[in-house]
């Protein structure tokens, strides 16, 4: 008997609390969304950055791509060499007077929709380089979507900015065609992170001692301390070990 008759799928194992009913099956396999939302959702999770770096910040941007941080988790690891295939221009570093026209050229070669992240103090405002050869902020000639503070911002900051941009992209609404709906891009107004984070930041009066720091890496362990099931840095395996155990 077909499953839509008796409300139960034949031969299909019912999983984690589902009852195998039609409603359950539909709930599991069908996504109902407005086309606009679906597109925004898709854009949000497939931001392709342009492989372009200016200075120190680019090294931290590259570090975010490598496996310790791994921006593939956010669908942003497809680094494109050509601006025509990229969605995000990350202005990672100092914008020099000599290089500014080139940055603008790259931005103009990118297709809509496109976004700009200003990475680091130099790109935000010139930073510590208030000097004749440096443009005081990339926003003097490009529209910036997210500003990332730091000199240079560590990879964590890079990832947080990426998530903020995803948030923004997910809430943006763009016209579906030239005849349907409003024709302008509706950009959300994003709150200032400084204001949002202020209460939390002002609560922190003291820097946590070494043993209370988050265990971000095996190296952050006090002498002799280990957690059950966790490998110490000396246990990091080499290819040879792997070969031996794989036998």
């Amino acid at each position: 008997m077909p499953w839509w008759r008796n409300g139960r799928m034949q031969g299909v194992k019912v999983r984690d609390g589902g009852d195998g009913s039609l409603a359950d099956a539909v709930g599991r396999s069908v996504l109902l969304a407005r086309l606009q939302d679906l597109l925004a959702w898709g854009r949000k999770h497939s931001l392709w950055p342009l492989n372009f770096g200016l200075s120190c910040c680019y090294v931290e941007m590259a570090t975010s791509i490598t496996s310790t941080y791994d921006i593939a988790r956010f669908g942003a690891e497809v680094i494109r060499g050509s601006p025509r295939q990229a969605d995000v221009l990350i202005v990672s570093g100092t914008v020099f007077v000599k290089v500014a026209p080139i940055v603008k050229q790259l931005y103009e070669q990118m297709l809509e929709p496109r976004w700009v992240i200003s990475m680091g103090s130099c790109a935000n405002s010139g930073g510590m380089f208030d000097v004749y050869s440096v443009v005081q902020g990339v926003d003097s000639f490009l529209p910036v979507d997210v500003y990332m503070p730091g000199c240079p911002p560590p990879p964590h900051a890079f990832m947080e900015t990426l998530l903020l941009l995803q948030e923004k992209v997910g809430r943006e609404r763009r016209p579906l065609s030239w005849i349907v709906g409003p024709q302008e891009v509706q950009k959300p107004i994003m709150p200032s992170m400084r204001d949002l984070k202020r209460p939390e930041r002002t609560r922190e009066r003291e820097y946590p001692p070494m043993d209370r720091l988050p265990l971000t890496d095996g190296l952050w362990r006090r002498p002799g301390e280990s957690r059950p099931g966790e490998r110490t840095p000396n246990d990091w395996r080499t290819v040879d070990d792997w070969k031996r155990t794989a036998g």
Binding site: N51, F52, G53, L54, S55, C56, Y58, V59, E60, A62, T63, T66, S67, T68, G81, T94, F96, V97, K98, V99, A100, P101, I102, K104, Q105, L106, G126, M128, F129, D130, V131, Y132, S133, V134, V135, Q136, S140, F141, C151, P152, P154, M210, D217, L219, W220, R222, P223, P233, N234, W236, T238, V239, D240
Partner: protein, 590 residues
């Protein structure tokens, strides 16, 4: 002080110059760093430099640095034959293991000196930079064009009357016509560089390929235009200056102390290795002796940063020639180094941790555990990387015999560091002119014989093991004692003395707010950084800021060599050459 000292006390080279008829010797300057410094006339300088390069016994075969100083605002210093501008040449003799500075006083607002490009090929870029920055002409060159600033720039930035701040120069705008004008200025015309488009053979034209400044293979904003016959490189014209952050101008406005963070950003991969030559030169001017613990802490941090820098080079070089996975392993290990630097300095890439007279803080509790874990862990990884990269047949195929040059070429082009050592000369300033206590450490200077891309890689890889050796010795033998000198000019002054009487409180207040005032003098301490020899040549005229800071960086000299190395190779070899050179664009353009 001007050295009109009795002849017996003068350095040998000064005697050799003085004995020569028509040497044009004006004066002998007594510098703080003890590097012999002679002033000669404009008309005699070319002949004197030729003599020093070729004819003098144990000659000065390397032109280490060439730049200028705008003397028009300098406070009167007793007896120096100052004009409006001074051009200085810094030479090096390997046989003597000695430096020599030759200075030429110039007069007028548009001065000129004879070119020395016929003596040293690497003088080319130094002279162009001096023209660009100071407006000093070099006679006898076929052409003289700007190097760092764009061709449409007005004025010469390192002149004292050029504005320093961008905010003094009006808001930056990029309207359409300005955008078009700047793009047009970037247009490459082979005729401007004395190149022809057409080959001798009929129906055959050269191809000109533009790489950069936005290109993934150039490690940053470097632009190269390659003239190709098929795939063979006939010539290359590098275009730099896309990363010119004007740190030499910045040094004339920041105090001696507040310039330290800017040094971090000269070569952004090697952190404290930039701070070291600057602090050593300032300490020489101030007459500060750094306590032993501070010295060993400095050495340890420098070697950690050398490892971090070499790891980036290792991974990106392998990636440049097609091995995509090593860079992921190497960046992971770089993260482990940065975990240590973050725990000690609080910063990753830009630690800003050395101070005039020592370091910012003592080592934190538990630092030895962090460092020990790393030195125990890392050698096995290096073994693995050698199997992964250095033994890889494809890597060898791409690098062995590519971009080779001889030791004579290396010296003529001012190559230092691994570039020089790959040509068979184990020359390392840490060994031959030890500074910051390097003489107490037991380490070898690796070298290789062929001067090609593979040998440059070999030298880098062997150096990493030596750095580990040094770090291990720092770990085992870290001396107790203060981490900063108690000299009155050490900055910021030690806090514990301040609360006892008003006198020390005032000194502390002035030292922190105004910065230390250094006595007039000149000093440079060339050091061995990760990419070659780095030197900060500081001129003090007795105030709290530097009168002139000249930053000599290795990458500048090495990138200038790229056309020389690449001629006759194939286009894909160019990327192998660039990868092997180990340069950072901020180190090229400063």
């Amino acid at each position: 002080m001007i050295g009109n000292a009795p002849p017996a006390e003068r350095p040998l080279v000064v005697e050799e110059v003085a004995r020569r008829p028509g040497s044009g010797l004006l004066s002998v300057q007594d510098t703080t760093d003890g590097i012999p410094t002679i002033w000669v006339t404009r008309d005699a300088v070319h002949e004197l430099l030729r003599f020093l390069r070729s004819d003098v016994p144990r000659p000065y075969r390397m032109l280490f640095d060439l730049s200028a100083t705008d003397e028009r605002m300098r406070r009167p210093s007793d007896g120096l034959p100052l004009g409006t501008f001074t051009v200085f040449y810094q030479l090096f003799s390997f046989e003597r293991n000695e430096w020599l500075r030759v200075k030429v006083p110039l007069t007028g607002d548009a001065p000129s000196v004879p070119t020395v490009t016929d003596l040293w090929p690497n003088a080319d870029w130094y002279e162009r930079e001096t023209w660009d920055m100071f407006g000093i002409r070099f006679d006898g060159r076929p052409s003289l064009r700007r190097l760092l600033m764009p061709p449409w720039w007005n004025g010469h930035p390192l002149r004292k009357d050029h504005p320093a701040r961008a905010t003094e120069m009006g808001r930056f705008q990029l309207p359409e016509e300005r955008h078009d004008m700047t793009q047009d200025a970037l247009q490459f015309r082979p005729e401007d560089w004395g190149m022809t488009r057409s080959h001798q053979e009929p129906d055959f034209d050269y191809m000109f390929i533009n790489l950069g400044p936005a290109h993934t293979g150039t490690h940053g904003v470097l632009r190269l235009v390659a003239q190709l016959a098929g795939e063979e490189i006939i010539d290359i014209v590098p275009d730099i200056g896309f990363h010119h952050r004007a740190k030499e101008k910045m040094a004339e406005r920041q105090t001696w102390h507040t310039f330290i963070p800017y040094t971090d950003r000269v070569d952004y991969l090697q952190g404290t290795l930039n701070e070291l030559p600057y602090c050593l030169a300032v300490e020489k001017l101030a007459g500060i002796d750094v306590p032993p613990r501070a010295q060993v802490i400095r050495v340890m941090m420098c070697e950690l940063y050398r490892l971090a820098s070499h790891l980036v080079w290792y991974g990106t070089f392998a990636q440049d020639v097609g091995a995509l996975s090593p860079v992921f392993y190497m960046f992971n290990d770089r993260e482990r180094i940065h975990a240590i630097t973050e725990a000690i300095c609080g910063g990753r890439m830009h630690p800003n941790w050395f101070r005039i007279g020592g370091v910012a803080q003592d080592l934190p509790e538990g630092w030895d555990q962090l460092v020990r874990q790393f030195v125990e862990y890392f050698p096995a990884r290096l073994d693995e990387y050698e199997r992964l990269v250095m033994d890889n047949p494809i890597f060898k195929e791409r690098t062995v015999g590519i971009g080779a040059f001889t030791l004579e070429d290396a010296i003529a082009w001012g190559a230092t560091g691994p570039m020089l050592r790959a040509c068979g000369l184990p020359w390392d300033l840490r060994k031959v002119q030890p500074y910051s206590g390097y003489e107490q450490f037991d380490f070898d200077v690796p070298s290789a014989g062929n001067g090609d891309c593979y040998d440059r890689a070999v030298v880098h890889v062997l150096e990493m093991r030596q750095s580990l050796r040094i770090i291990r010795q720092c770990l085992e033998g870290m001396p107790p004692g203060p981490y900063k000198s108690d000299h009155p000019r050490a900055t910021p002054p030690l806090k514990e003395h301040t609360m006892h009487d008003i006198e020390t409180l005032i000194h502390h207040f002035l030292g922190v707010s105004w910065g230390p005032v250094l006595p007039p003098g000149e000093a440079a301490v060339p050091t061995e950084s990760s990419k070659g020899q780095t030197s900060y040549y500081l001129t003090s005229d007795g105030s709290q800021v530097s009168y002139r800071t000249r930053i000599r960086t290795p990458s500048f000299a090495h990138i200038q060599m790229v056309p020389f190395m690449a001629r006759g190779e194939l286009l894909p070899d160019l990327l192998a050459i660039l990868g092997s050179v180990d340069f950072v664009l901020s180190d090229v353009d400063r």
